[in-house]
C-alpha cells in the first residue's frame, strides 16, 4: 500500500530543546494509525508540524507525493488534510449549525449546503443543539462538533489529537465506531490517544513516541507485548 503521508528526518526545536527529532513516519493510505506515548513525548508537536501550524526546524513532510514542508496550513487542508486539535478548537460564540456551515461551504454545492449541514449534525447527534452557541455544549459534544467540522472538509487524511479526551466511556466507544466507519469509507486516520482501550478498538498500526523520537512501531498486539513500551509508560521495574 502506498504512503499518503511521510515525514523525513523531521525535527522541531524550541530554543535548545528538541521537542521532535529525526522522525521518519510513514502512514499508509486507508489505514487507522495510532500514535501513542507518554506526556511530553512530542505527539502534539508532531501533529502541528504535519498540519503546518509549526514550521519544522529540519526535515521534510510529503503528503500525497507532494513536498508540503513549506506550505501554509490552509494549502495542506486544500490538498486533503484535516485536523481535530487536542482541546476543542471551535467557534464558541457562533451557533453549532454555523460552525458546521462554515466548514462545509466550500465542499458542497450551495443548494445542498443546508441538507448536508443537517445530515452532519444528525451524524454527530447535535441536531437538537444546532441553534445553541457552540460554547454552551458539553465538553464531549464540543469534541464531536470539532470532529464534524474536520469531517466536513471530506479529507483524505484525518489527524485526530486525543479525540476522546473528556468523553464518557459510551461517547468514547461511539467515537471509535465513527472512526471505523470513516475508515471503511476510505479515509486514512492518524490518531493520537492515551486511552489504550480506545487504541485497541481502532488501531491497525501503532507508533510509539518517546522523548520526541519514534520509539517503536507495529501492530497493536506487538506494541502491547513490547516490554520497552510498558517500561516507558509504567516506569522501569525495580530490580531487587
Amino acid at each position: 500500500m502506498s504512503a499518503i503521508l511521510k515525514t523525513i528526518s523531521l525535527g522541531k526545536s524550541f530554543g535548545g530543546l528538541a521537542a521532535v527529532s529525526e522522525v521518519d513516519l510513514s502512514i499508509d493510505e486507508g489505514e487507522i494509525h495510532c500514535l501513542i506515548g507518554p506526556n511530553g513525548a512530542g505527539k502534539s508537536t508532531l501533529f502541528r508540524l504535519i498540519v503546518g501550524t509549526y514550521p519544522p526546524t529540519v526535515g521534510q513532510i510529503v503528503f500525497k507525493d507532494q513536498d508540503v514542508t513549506l506550505q501554509r496550513p490552509y494549502e495542506r487542508v486544500k490538498l486533503g488534510m484535516s485536523i481535530k486539535m487536542q482541546t476543542p478548537s471551535i467557534f464558541k460564540q457562533l451557533p453549532v449549525r454555523q460552525n458546521i456551515h462554515v466548514a462545509l461551504q466550500d465542499h458542497v454545492p450551495k443548494h445542498l449546503l443546508a441538507g448536508e449541514t443537517s445530515r452532519l449534525l444528525e451524524l454527530l447527534d447535535l441536531s437538537g443543539d444546532a441553534d445553541k452557541v457552540a460554547g454552551a455544549l458539553s465538553h464531549g459534544q464540543q469534541q464531536w462538533l470539532e470532529i464534524g467540522m474536520a469531517l466536513a472538509l471530506k479529507p483524505a487524511l484525518m489527524l485526530m489529537d486525543e479525540p476522546t479526551a473528556g468523553m464518557s466511556p459510551e461517547e468514547t466507544h461511539r467515537t471509535g465506531l465513527l472512526i471505523q466507519q470513516l475508515n471503511a469509507q476510505g479515509m486514512t486516520l492518524l490518531v493520537v490517544e492515551h486511552d489504550m482501550t480506545f487504541v485497541r478498538q481502532i488501531a491497525q498500526r501503532v507508533t510509539v513516541m518517546h522523548f520526541g523520537r519514534l520509539f517503536a512501531r507495529g501492530s497493536i498486539a506487538e506494541i502491547l507485548a513490547d516490554p520497552r513500551v510498558a517500561e516507558i509508560y509504567l516506569g522501569k521495574p525495580h530490580e531487587h
Partner: protein, 351 residues
C-alpha cells in the same frame, strides 16, 4: 433577493424588520419636504460619517480587526478629492475625483494592510499601527503650510486646511451643472448609504461573511478549515478603509475644505465610540447608532464642544462597563424580548 440580504450575520431579518426599513427610508426620502434646507444640509453631513462607521463595524465587529486608522483613509481620500477636483478643474470631473479618491484610499489600505497582516501584526498592535499612521499623516499635513507644499494647483495649506475645490457636480442640459449641495447632496448620500448598507448585508451574509466571522472567533481554526486568513483580512481591511475614504471625499465635497484636525487623535477616536456604542456586531445597529450619535454630538457642539467631547468619553466608558455589545443592539434585543414575552402572555391568556 431577500435571501441574499438576510442571514445569521445580521440582526434584523424578518418581515417586521423590512417593513420598518421601508418606512424609515420613506421618511428619510420625505424629510426634505418638511424640513428647511439648512437642517437637510446638516443631515447630509451626519449621513457622511455613516460610511466610516460601517467600514469600522465590518473590520472590527465582523473580522476582529480594531483599526484606529479610519481617519487616515478619511484624510487620504479627503485630500485626494481636493487635489484632484482642483487640478481636474471641477465640473463633471469631480465625480471622477470622488471615485479616484476612494480608489487611492483602497490602494493605501492594500499597502498598509499587506505589511501589517503579512507581518502578523494583530490584536492591540493592529490598533497601535493604524493609530500611528493616522497621527503621522495629521502631523505631516499640519506642516505643509508653506507655498512649496502644493500638488499642481492645489495647496495643502497646513493647519489652515485645503480649500477651493468644487463640490461634486454633474453637467446638465443647457450648459447647466447640478451641484450636490444641501438637499441634492442629502439625496445623493442617502442613496449611497442604501447601496452600501444593502451591499454590506449581502457581503456579511455570504460565504465571505461566514469566513470573516470565523476568523474573528479563531483565526487558526479558520485557516485549518482551508481558508487563507490573510487574504480575507486584507480584503476586509480594504473594504472597511475604502468606506472611510468615501466619507472623506464626501466630507471635502460637502464643506469644500479639509483640515488636518479631521485626521488627528480626537477625530480618530470618534468612529471607535460610534461603533462601540452602537454595537459592533451588526451593521444596522452601527448605521442607526452612528447617525444618532453624530446628530446629538453636533447639536451639543453648537453650545459647547468640550461638553460634546466629554459626552463621547462618558458614552464609551458606559458602553464598556454596562453594555459591551453596544447600546443599540442591547436596546433592540430588550424590546424584542419584551415583545416576545407580551405575545407569549397574550397567547397563554387566550388559551
Amino acid at each position: 433577493m431577500l435571501s441574499l440580504l438576510n442571514g445569521s450575520q445580521t440582526v434584523g431579518n424578518g418581515r417586521a424588520f423590512w417593513i420598518s426599513f421601508v418606512v424609515v427610508l420613506g421618511a428619510a426620502l420625505a424629510y426634505p419636504a418638511i424640513a428647511d434646507s439648512y437642517t437637510v444640509g446638516n443631515f447630509a453631513y451626519f449621513f457622511i460619517w455613516v460610511f466610516m462607521a460601517l467600514g469600522l463595524c465590518l473590520m472590527w465587529g465582523y473580522c476582529g480587526m480594531l483599526s484606529f486608522g479610519q481617519t487616515f483613509f478619511f484624510g487620504i481620500s479627503g485630500y485626494s478629492y481636493g487635489v484632484l477636483a482642483i487640478n481636474f478643474g471641477g465640473g463633471g470631473a469631480t465625480v471622477a475625483a470622488l471615485l479616484l479618491a476612494v480608489v487611492l484610499a483602497a490602494l493605501c489600505a492594500l499597502v498598509l494592510g499587506y505589511f501589517m497582516i503579512w507581518g502578523r501584526i494583530g490584536g492591540v498592535f493592529f490598533g497601535i499601527v493604524t493609530l500611528s499612521a493616522t497621527l503621522v499623516l495629521a502631523f505631516f499635513i499640519g506642516h505643509t503650510a508653506g507655498p512649496e507644499w502644493h500638488i499642481g494647483g492645489a495647496r495643502l495649506n497646513g493647519f489652515n486646511g485645503m480649500k477651493g475645490m468644487d463640490p461634486i457636480n454633474i453637467p446638465w442640459f443647457g450648459g447647466e451643472s447640478i451641484y450636490f449641495e444641501g438637499t441634492s447632496l442629502y439625496y445623493l448620500v442617502l442613496a449611497l448609504i442604501v447601496v452600501v448598507y444593502l451591499a454590506l448585508r449581502i457581503l456579511v451574509n455570504s460565504r465571505f461573511g461566514n469566513v470573516i466571522v470565523a476568523i474573528r472567533e479563531d483565526p487558526q481554526r479558520a485557516e485549518l478549515l482551508g481558508y487563507d486568513v490573510r487574504k480575507f483580512q486584507l480584503l476586509t481591511f480594504m473594504v472597511g478603509s475604502s468606506l472611510a475614504g468615501l466619507s472623506g471625499a464626501l466630507y471635502t465635497s460637502w464643506g469644500q475644505f479639509i483640515t488636518p484636525s479631521s485626521i488627528g487623535m480626537p477625530a480618530a477616536a470618534m468612529p471607535i465610540v460610534w461603533v462601540a456604542f452602537s454595537g459592533r456586531g451588526d451593521i444596522t445597529a452601527t448605521l442607526v447608532g452612528a447617525f444618532l450619535i453624530t446628530l446629538v454630538f453636533q447639536s451639543i457642539t453648537v453650545h459647547s464642544q468640550q461638553a460634546a467631547l466629554l459626552l463621547m468619553g462618558a458614552m464609551l466608558l458606559t458602553t464598556v462597563m454596562v453594555a459591551p455589545a453596544g447600546f443599540v443592539i442591547g436596546i433592540t434585543r430588550g424590546i424584542a424580548r419584551f415583545a416576545r414575552r407580551r405575545l407569549a402572555g397574550t397567547s397563554v391568556r387566550k388559551a
